[in-house]
Structures are given as C-alpha cells and as structure tokens.
Assembly symmetry: C2
Homo-oligomer: 357 residues x 2
C-alpha cells in the first residue's frame, strides 16, 4: 500500500465541479486498495487572480512542488478572452506551473469507448480501432519564446524557438512509449517552412536511429490535421511541438467523440500533473451539466503513470465502461438514441462511477 | 469579350498534369465566349531549381508581374522533406512569389458537391449544408518572420509577427465577403497565449465595428480545429493568420471529402494567383491518377475573381457537377458504391469536363 500527497487545483469554470469527482474516485480507490491518499487544495487561474491577484499564487507553487501528484480542473475566463490587452491572464498560471515543474511532456491518449462510437461526427467505420497516444511538447515553442509589442503597439511578435535538448528528451519519451505500443511513430512539424521545425526533424531523425524497430514517419502539420480526419486509425504515437500539439489534440478529441472523455498527463522533471483536455466551459459552469469522466480518467492516468498502480487504474476505466454500457450519459455524449431518463448531471454521473467501482 | 494574358506555372509532382486541364478548360471557355486568352508558361519550385538553381527564377517573376492572372499547379519534393538541412528548397519559390506579388489574402472556399457527400469521413448529416469561405493571411506570420539558427546549430527559431496594417487589410476583405454571404465571421487566433494573436484580435474587434451587420465570433485555434469536425455548418467566413489558416484549411478540405476538389485564390496588390489546395503528391505523379478538378475549379475562381466573369465560372462548376452526377470519379473521390468502369484517370476526367462544357 502507498502513501501519497495529492494536490487538487480545481481552477476555473467547470474545474471545481469535475475535480470533486476525480477526488472522490481517488478516495474510493484508496479505501478499496488500502492506499493512504491525503489531499490539499490550491488556487490557480481566474480563481487565483480573484483571491490574490496572481494566476499562480506562490503558495500554490510551493504546495505543487511538495506534492506527489496534481489533479487539475480547467483554466480560463471569457472576461479575458474579450480583452486582448489584459496584462494578467488566467492562462499564465497554467503556463507558469508547467514551466516551473518542468512538465515538458504532455501525454494525451485518444481512446474510444465502444459505446460512444456514435457520438463522433466521424463515421463509425472510420473511427473504430483508433488508439493514438500524443506526445505534445509542453514547455517550449512559441508559448514560451519572447513576446514583444512595439512602442506604438502596432506590431506584435512571439518567438517560436526550440533547442536540441528540448526535442531530444520528449522524442525519447515518445519512442519509449512506441516500443511498448504499436511501434509506429509519426513526428509532426512544418519543416518545409520553419527553421525550428527543421531542427525538430533533424533531432527526431537522430533519435529514430536508436529505435530501429520503430517505424518513423515525418508529416507536415497541415497534412496531419487532414490525415487525422481522413484515417485516424493510421496513427499510433504522434510526437509534436507545443502549438501543433495543442491544435491536433483538440481536433483528435472531437474525432474521439467528446472532449468530455479525454484526460491528459503532463510529466517531466518532477511531480506529475493530470487534467482533462476540456476547458473551463463557463457557459455551463455551476449548472451540474459538466461531464466528470475526463477528470476521473485523469485520476486513472495519475495512478498508472505517477504511482505505477495499473490494477487500480484499470478498475476506474472498467467502471466508466460499465456506466456507459448501462446507457448512462452526460449531455455532451448523449445522442438521439440515448434513453432520456439516463441522461445524468455531473453529480449523478460521478455517483454512478463510484457505485460501479 | 476580354483579352487576358495568363501565366501557367505547372510546378512539381502532379502540378503539370493537372494544370494541363485547367488550361484546356480556359481555352474552351475562351472559344465559347469569344475571350482571347493567351498563355505563357514558367518554372517554379523543384522544377525551377533543376533548371536554374533557383526555386523562383527571375524570368518567372517577371512574367508573373506582367500577366493578368496566374494558374499554378503544386510545389514540393520528397527529396527536400527528408533533408532538413537543405539550403535551397522548392517551397521558397512559392513563398517568395506570394510576397513579391503582394498576395496577402488566400481565399479557400470549402464547398460540397452533393454527389460527394459520402466521400468524406464525416457523417453526411454533419456535413450537409457546409459552405465555408476561409480568408487565410498569406504574406505574414511565422512564415516570413526572421529565421535563425545558432552557430552550434542547436537552437532554431522563427519569428511569429504581425503588424496592424497586415491584419486590417485582410480583415476588411473578409468582412466585405461576409456581407455578401451569411453575415457571420469567425476570427481564429490564440490570443490567450500569443501576443501576435492579441494584436490580431484587437484589430479585428476594431474592424468589426465598421460592419455591425456581421456577427463576429473570436475562437481559439485549438477550439476551431475541434469545432470544424464537430459542426462544420456553423461556419460562414473564417478569418485567420497564415499558419493557422494552413492547418485549418487542410483539415477542412478533408471534411469536404477530398483535397482533390478544392481550389484557392490568392489576391492582394496585383496579379491574382490560382491553385488547387492539394500538394505535389509525388507518389502518384506522372501516372495519370491525379484529380484535375481542383485545377479546373481554380480556373473558375480566376474567371470570377480576377476577371469578373461569373457566367463563365458558373458554367465550369455546372460541368463538374454534371460529370459527378453521371457517376464519373477519379480514384481519390471514388468509394465502394462507384461503378468501377466510371473511375477515370486524369486525362479522361479532364476530357469529360470539356465535353460537358
Ligand atoms: C489554456 C491554454 C493555455 C492551454 C494551451 O494552449 O496549452 C490549453 O488549450 C491546453 O491545451 O492545455
Ligand atoms: C507548400 C507550403 C509552403 C504551403 C504553405 O504552407 O503555405 C502549402 O501547404 C499551402 O497551404 O499552400
């Protein structure tokens, strides 16, 4: 049995609602398997700004560094989206914690629950069998390169920049994952136009030599965005830069049927950070409408990746499977064939998963 | 009747095969309507490098400036894709001609031929009714910002940069188009992270005030990549930066069923430039397999946009419609239900369209 300190950062919008259920599932797993999970909570994003003026309060960062894993909700607020000149922004909190914790690899598994095949806008026959693991670089690229605004405010720039070691370390992680999966890796860049992509491609070509068993493909981002719709099955491990990964994984999440079903793990130098792919969804916040399954799946990822607890992780996905098989859905994954009486709110859905655990 | 000088730049891969048919259709239209179209030809891309060492030979640029419109094929060669350190690259020719001709607005209409609804990987009910006009900025962004490689070659960067006037001029074009379409405009950026996107959003918000009839929405690129799969019908005019536009339009082309069916118009300060969205597709080059319809549709765009010849343009789309209704397909748009005897090569397909003109 294990003793682990988990920091919950609910964040903004639907974040608090969904992390409640992630946490509840962790507690249930702890009891069942005799692990001692202790919890603390901290602020980030708009919630951090409201309380302290800072999207990543010092206290949050300290607690994060001292914890064994972090369960995060969502970030962002419409208020800032419509005010491009705001100096302090919720997202800065997320970007800073990624950098401070050295979370350079963002793993986004695109997995399909058979029950939800019909929830996608793609034809089931195109979709069936899709199983992709994205490795998105998370602490470099145009996200962290120097940002400038000219004095007259009429010109603005962001530096898209990569260094060899940044590409190497995530490429190694992606190849290691490919070795225990389908042994195919697709590296996505825009090397026909971008110098940073040419460095990316050079480095991946080098690392590829150390993994001769893995079949490597290099694809331009525009083509990848297309191929993902055309034939998602053809991908196994996808390795890409921060910005391209942001775009491709959201696209892929829709292919998989719903953002509400996908979790991500950010790992690197220290504490792992687990969060749903979906955003803060302010339009439905506080209305008991959000799908808690991605937060619950984030917990499964945490158990497996940070604590090596495979059996426990498996039990969670089985419970979700069961819930879906019984016909229960939140609004976002319901369709015309869903029994109306089985469309549940956040709480009832969380409760169902707990029951099936 | 009109007299127009058209420069054909076949380019690389399947470019020569498909432009042959674009040109043939222009000639047929000229004869039918009594226009005098004269033709010249020039080299670009790999073809330019092979012949002169330059992906955009001076002669090509001179001819381009002196012509009334340009019909372009495709660019790129696998040889350079796998060699990230190549100094001279085919794509430089395309980027340079865009810059030199001031082609700052790339229009990519995503239109569906009813006959091809089933060729998409999206469900027909999601797709039906989709009609999007993309305005992709084409002479700015990380494409043209300063590129650097450190002396030890271990760090590489590209500057993502926009100036106010660059955003203004394309925003105005996009709003003007929205006024004569569905009066909805979605501007796509990443303003929650990028300074250049924040400038983009500020400027679009300003221009939007001059078009109060148009309903403006701002969307983050990751969300847009997702929404495009989820519900493509919701978009009317989409306005976005060079890199985001590159990615979104390729994604959208797949949604529409086939890249082989989509054309684009690049316009701005002078001569208009018309090309298929598809690339050079070296794997099928010279095999009479390429779909010539996108090149033929590029010609329809040229007639309409550069010469104001709407009736002529319409006749071309009708001829294509007819061809598809009769069941004729190239391999890329054929499906399980296609009558095998009606799967045509490039030449036979071009010929069919000519017949139906
Ligand atoms: C909120 C935003 C800064 C973030 C990103 O772009 O990385 C989000 O879209 C994500 O993918 O985690
Ligand atoms: C070939 C390449 C440079 C080009 C681009 O990225 O602009 C192409 O993908 C396009 O979309 O026209």
């Amino acid at each position: 049995t294990m003793t682990k300190k988990i920091l919950v950062i609910p964040g903004d919008g639907i974040g608090p609602e969904v992390t409640t259920w992630g946490k509840a599932v962790l507690e249930a797993i702890g009891q069942k398997f005799g692990h001692e999970f202790t919890f603390d909570e901290a602020l980030m994003g708009h919630a951090g700004i409201e309380a302290t003026g800072n999207p990543l309060p010092d206290e949050t960062l300290e607690k994060a560094k001292a914890s064994d894993a972090i369960l995060f909700g969502a970030i962002g607020h419409i208020k800032y989206d419509n005010d491009p000149s705001a100096k302090v922004r919720p997202e800065q909190g997320l970007l800073k914690i990624r950098k401070e914790l050295g979370l350079y690899a963002n793993l986004r598994p695109i997995m399909l629950f058979d029950e939800l095949l019909d929830a996608s806008s793609l034809k089931p026959e195109i979709l069936k069998g899709t199983d992709i693991l994205f490795f998105r670089e998370l602490t470099g690229d145009v996200y962290f390169g120097e940002k400038k605004r000219s004095e007259d405010r009429n010109t603005a720039s962001d530096l898209m920049v990569y260094s060899r070691y940044e590409v190497e370390r995530i490429a190694i992680k992606a190849y290691e994952a490919a070795m225990v999966r389908g042994k195919r890796l697709c590296s996505v860049d825009k090397a026909n136009v971008l110098e940073s992509s040419r460095l990316w491609r050079e480095v991946v070509q080098e690392i590829a030599k150390q993994y001769p068993e893995v079949e490597t493909e290099h694809m331009f981002i525009d083509n990848a965005a297309m191929q993902l719709v055309k034939n998602p099955k053809k991908f196994d491990v996808v390795l890409t830069a921060n910005l391209f990964g942001d775009i491709l994984t959201d696209e892929a999440s829709q292919i998989a049927g719903s953002m509400g079903m996908l979790a991500s793990a950010s790992i690197g130098d220290g504490t792992g950070f687990f969060e749903p792919i979906h955003g803060s969804a302010h339009d439905i916040a506080g209305q008991d409408k959000a799908n808690p399954l991605a937060s619950i799946l984030s917990v499964a990822l945490m158990l497996e990746i940070s604590f090596g607890l495979k059996e426990e992780a498996k039990l969670i996905t089985s419970a979700i499977d069961k819930t879906l098989k019984e016909g229960y859905r939140t609004g976002d994954i319901a369709d015309a064939n869903t029994d109306k009486s089985k469309i549940l709110g956040t709480k009832a859905m969380g409760q169902k998963v707990l029951e099936y655990l």
